[in-house]
Amino acid sequence: MRAVLTLCALLVLVADGANAEPLTDADEIVARANLASYYAGADGRSEVRMIISDAQGRQQRRQFTVLRRNVEAGGDQQFLVVFSQPSDVRNTTFLVHKHVDGDDDRWLYLPGLDLVKRISAGDKRTSFVGAHYFYEDVSGRRPADDSHELLETTDEHYVLRHIPLDRQTVEFSSYVTWIDRETLLPMKIEYTNPAGKLYRRVEVLEVADFDGHPTVTISRVSDLLGGGQTDMQFRYIKYDTGLPEQVFTERSLRNPPRDWLQRPRSGT
C-alpha cells in the first residue's frame, strides 16, 4: 500500500513538477511566484518569530501572529499583525490594506497611548520592527513595480532579473530571484545597489507543505555589506480558516480578534 502511495506521489510530482514544460514568460513566472508566496489559500494565519542579529552578533527577538485575507487572488489583500514579544511591543498591532492599484493603507496601534497611527505610503522599504526585513517583504512587492527578465532556466530554478520602474522609491538598482520550478516559491533574492554591489540577500531555508500549499517556514535576510541578519520562522500555519473582512478593521487594532488569533489545534 505504502509503495502505491509513494508511486502516486511521484507521478503527481512528475506531472506537475520539474519535468513539466518549463515556463518561458518572465511576467507569468513572477505572477505565479507572487501567488505562491503571498496568496496561498483564500486566507491564512501564521505565528512568526524573528531573531535579529547585528554585525556584532547581538540579538533581538520579535514574535507575532499574522492574519491574512485575499480580497482576490493576485489582487488586494489585508493583513493584521499582532505582536506578543518582546514586552515593549506587546499588543502593538499593525493593519495593512494592500492595494494592487495604488498605495497600501497602513495603520499601527500603539497601546500605551491608545493611538491609531497612520503610516505614510513611502515608508515601505525601511526596517519592519527593527528587523532586516522591510515592510514590503512582509506584505509583498507589487509585480507591476518592476520589469522582469528571465535570465536562465536551470533544473531547479527560474532565474530572473528585476529592474524597478521607479528608481526614486527604492534603494536597489536591480535584484535577481531564484524561483523554484516546482513550487514557484522564490528561494533566493539578491539585491544590487546603484554602486553595482551585492548588498542584501533573502533566502528560504525551509519549506513545508500545509493544506496542499508549499509554504516557507524558515527564511533569512542578510545585510551583505554591514553584516547582520534576521532569521524568520513561521509556525502554526493554517489556510482557508474563513477569516471575515471585519477582522481587518480599526476594531481589531484596539481589540485584537482573539478567536482568530488562537493557535489552531492541529498543525505544527
Binding site: 522599504r125 520592527v129 547582520g228
Partner: protein
C-alpha cells in the same frame, strides 16, 4: 500622596501573594531556547503574562528658576507592571505604575489601565475602567481629543506615553458598515495635569508674573456629581483609505483657565464639536481637523473670569523624503471669538491671548541601525505669541531589555505670559534608562 500610596502598595502585595505560585515563577521564558524548536515558541498564553519595566530618570534645568528651590526637573525610579487575562467573553487589563518621585518627595501610584472589556452582541465593544484614551488626527496637538493630558510629565521629559493621563471612563464602540460610533463617558470630571508651581513655575495674570504657590495650585474642580461628568462622542468611518470623523464633547475646559468669583482658578463649562479627515496625498499623509469650543457660561465673551469661545483649525502633512527620515509639518490656529468683548472686559488685557494664535510644528525623525537609534526633534513655534518649544531626543535601544533616552525640553519667547514663554526657566535636559522585563 503617601498614605494612598502605602495603601496601594499593600494592595498590590496582597494581590501578588494571592496569585498561584506557578504564575509568578515564569520559568517557561519563550526566548530561553536558542534553537528553532517547538519549545522556543512558548505555550499558548493561558497563564497571566507579566511584564513591564523599571526605569530610572533624571533631568535638570539649564538655569535656576528663582522661584523654585530645586534645580532638578526629573528624579524618579519607576516600576511598571502589566498583565492581562482574556477569556472568550472578557478581557481584563492591568497596567500600573509605582514611582518614587524625588522632586515631589513621595511615592506616586497610578493605574494606567485597569479595565474590563467585553462585547455586547456582535457589534459593540465595551471597555470599562481606568484607561488612556486618544482620538483625533493631530501630532501632539489636540483639538477634539479632550481626554486628560499630563503636561507636567511632558515638559519634564517622561516618556511620550505619559502625556496621556488615564481617566475612569466607560467606553462603548459600535461598529457597523454604515458608521462606527465611539462613546466615552467619564462620570467624574478628570482634568489635565496642569502646571501647579511645584515642578515648574507658571505665569499668573493676577500676579503679572510667574508664581510658584505653596501649597501648589489646586484648582477648584466641579463637584463630584454625575451632571458634572464628561461625555465624548466620535462618529468615524474609513472609505477608500480616507478617514472621516465627527466629534462632540460635553464637559469642562481641561485646564483651569477660569476663575471663580473668589478669583480661584477653576474649569469653565465646555461644549465642543469638531470634524477631521486623514488620507494619503502624494507621497505622504495629510490631515485636517477643526473644533469649535463653546464656553457655555460666557456666551458673549464678556465675562472676564471665563474663557471665550474658540475655533480651532489644524492642517498637517507627513512624509518620508528619504528612507528612515520622516518629516511632519502642522499648522494650528486658535481663533478666540468675541475678542473685542474679552479685551474690553479684561482687568489685565495685556495678558489675554491674541485673537489669532498661530502655531507651527515640525517633527523630524531619523532612524538608524535597524531602528536601534532614533533621533527626533519636535518643534512648536508660535509666530503670534513669539515663543517656541523644542523637544530634541536621542533614543537608543541597546537590546530587547535595555534602552535609554537622552533629550531636552527647550522653551523660549519674547513675552513672559505666553504659553511656552512662561516656561523659559524650565528648559531642561533629561536622561532615562529603562529595563524591560
Amino acid at each position: 500622596m503617601a498614605p494612598s500610596a502605602t495603601h496601594w502598595v499593600l494592595k498590590t502585595a496582597a494581590l501578588l501573594v494571592l496569585l498561584p505560585a506557578p504564575l509568578l515563577a515564569q520559568d517557561d521564558d519563550p526566548w530561553s531556547n536558542e534553537q528553532w524548536d517547538d519549545e522556543g515558541w512558548g505555550q499558548e498564553e493561558e497563564a497571566l503574562p507579566f511584564n513591564g519595566f523599571v526605569e530610572a530618570a533624571a533631568g535638570t534645568r539649564f538655569t535656576r528658576d528663582p522661584l523654585l528651590s530645586k534645580r532638578e526637573t526629573l528624579e524618579e525610579l519607576r516600576w511598571r507592571l502589566e498583565t492581562e487575562w482574556n477569556t472568550a467573553a472578557l478581557s481584563l487589563r492591568f497596567k500600573s505604575d509605582l514611582a518614587y518621585d524625588g522632586i515631589e518627595k513621595g511615592w506616586d501610584a497610578e493605574f494606567r489601565d485597569l479595565t474590563v472589556g467585553f462585547r455586547i452582541g456582535e457589534s459593540i465593544d465595551a471597555r470599562i475602567g481606568q484607561q488612556v484614551l486618544t482620538w483625533g488626527t493631530g501630532d501632539l496637538v489636540f483639538l477634539n481629543d479632550l481626554f486628560p493630558k499630563d503636561f507636567v510629565s511632558f515638559f519634564a521629559g517622561r516618556d511620550d506615553d505619559y502625556l496621556k493621563a488615564p481617566s475612569a471612563t466607560l467606553r462603548f464602540t459600535r461598529f457597523s458598515d454604515t458608521i462606527n460610533i465611539d462613546v466615552a463617558w467619564t462620570p467624574l470630571f478628570e482634568p489635565d495635569v496642569y502646571l501647579n508651581g511645584e515642578r515648574f513655575s507658571f505665569f499668573s495674570p493676577l500676579a503679572g508674573s510667574n508664581v510658584s504657590p505653596d501649597p501648589p495650585l489646586a484648582a477648584v474642580e466641579p463637584s463630584d456629581s454625575l451632571s458634572n461628568g464628561e461625555l465624548a462622542v466620535r462618529l468615524f468611518k474609513t472609505v477608500e483609505g480616507r478617514e472621516y470623523a465627527l466629534y462632540a464633547y460635553d464637559g469642562f475646559f481641561k485646564q483651569p483657565t477660569a476663575l471663580t468669583a473668589a478669583f480661584e482658578p477653576t474649569f469653565a463649562a465646555l461644549t465642543a464639536i469638531g470634524a477631521s479627515l486623514r488620507q494619503p496625498a502624494g507621497p505622504g499623509l495629510v490631515n485636517f481637523e477643526t473644533a469649535y469650543y463653546w464656553s457655555r457660561d460666557d456666551k458673549d465673551g464678556t465675562d472676564p473670569l471665563l474663557p471665550n469661545d474658540q475655533l480651532r483649525l489644524l492642517a498637517g502633512y507627513e512624509w518620508e523624503p528619504k528612507a528612515n527620515f520622516t518629516v511632519g509639518l502642522q499648522y494650528y490656529l486658535e481663533w478666540t471669538r468675541d475678542h473685542d468683548a474679552l479685551i474690553r472686559n479684561s482687568p489685565a488685557a495685556e495678558f489675554e491671548p491674541d485673537e489669532l494664535r498661530h502655531v507651527l510644528t515640525t517633527r523630524l525623525s531619523f532612524r538608524a541601525g535597524l531602528d536601534r537609534h532614533v533621533f527626533s526633534l519636535f518643534a512648536f513655534i508660535s509666530p503670534s505669541d513669539r515663543d517656541f518649544y523644542l523637544r530634541p531626543s536621542y533614543q537608543f535601544r541597546y537590546s530587547d531589555e535595555w534602552s535609554w533616552v537622552l533629550g531636552g525640553n527647550l522653551f523660549g519667547g519674547d513675552a513672559q505670559h505666553t504659553f511656552f514663554s512662561q516656561l523659559q526657566d524650565a528648559s531642561n535636559a533629561y536622561l532615562r534608562i529603562r529595563y524591560h522585563y
